[in-house]
Symmetry: C2
Subunit: 180 residues, 2 copies
């Protein structure tokens, strides 16, 4: 039986933090580099800045012009679809204004994803696939299948998951699963 | 361990068909009663009308002012939450323009639902709960847990599922599960 894979969007398909870094620098007169910003945690920002960041992210076009994180992702997904059912599962309920932009972004950059295979959710405990590729240890812990952690500076301390750091490693991981 | 329930929106929580009937009568100069409209099938409409219906549904406010289908639903959900994790799972990917309206509608009429427990999806094969209450045999067939069919005229011929025809019956069904 074909197995299924759910793929997170931000920091797995889309370079969300790059845009968020520029937004924070602009709105709060900060000077983070992209690399520095990836080391920040939400609690490093005063609550009023956190609240403002959510408001900005909730604007209808905020997620529409994110860069693709890894140029290999689209080709790897097409290859994965030969042997797996591929879904997109993105936590979007904190920023409901982002729904349409995220949907349109996926259609532009990953048109091979059937729209029936897109899920906007809160907790990923509800996702019923065999695998979930995510940068969030919190979501992987809630998920009931096999979690694959997409390495980011803010999750480097986390143990207990298979790690990937780019889409070529994702391709290799799933090729190996097929010959097991 | 607490079990989980996913609840569909249209024709389980929201009276979508009532508005769609009025929309069709208005735009296509038809004269359906609500009862007659519930007996129609998509293929009863010419393709250009089906296309136009989708366009109208995709307008940002279309789903915002639907009536609640059953006035008992909110109280029953509050009661269910004592013993079950309750999620909302709505197929929305054909009408991405509806996301925000559906989200706001839920918040207005069912504020007891944690936003982390809301899912906008395509196929409900991806929903990982113990139960799904839905009016669509197609979605119940895709779902991997126990399906509960919310009776509507267009699904009366379907066999193989526990049926409920209102929210009091849903309350009774889940009370019985607890004493099993």
């Amino acid at each position: 039986m074909r197995k299924s894979i759910a793929i997170d969007m931000d920091q797995v398909l889309a370079n969300f933090y790059k845009k968020l870094c520029a937004t924070c620098n602009e709105h709060f007169a900060l000077g983070y580099t992209d690399e520095q910003f990836l080391q920040t945690r939400p609690q490093d920002f005063p609550p009023e800045q956190g609240k403002r960041m959510l408001e900005l992210m909730n604007e209808p076009v905020y997620f529409r012009d994110l860069e693709v994180l890894d140029a290999d992702a689209a080709a790897v997904i097409v290859k994965l679809q030969e042997n797996y059912d591929v879904f997109i599962a993105t936590a979007a309920m904190e920023v409901p204004g982002s729904f349409q932009a995220k949907y349109d972004w996926l259609h532009e950059h990953f048109p091979m994803i059937d729209k029936q295979h897109i899920v906007f959710c809160g907790t990923k405990s509800i996702i019923h696939t065999d695998y979930l590729i995510d940068d969030s240890p919190y979501q992987l812990k809630a998920f009931k299948g096999t979690g694959i952690l997409y390495t980011m500076p803010y999750n480097e301390h986390v143990e207990g998951y298979t790690r990937v750091k780019n889409w070529q490693e994702i391709a290799t991981f799933f090729e190996k699963q097929l010959v097991k």
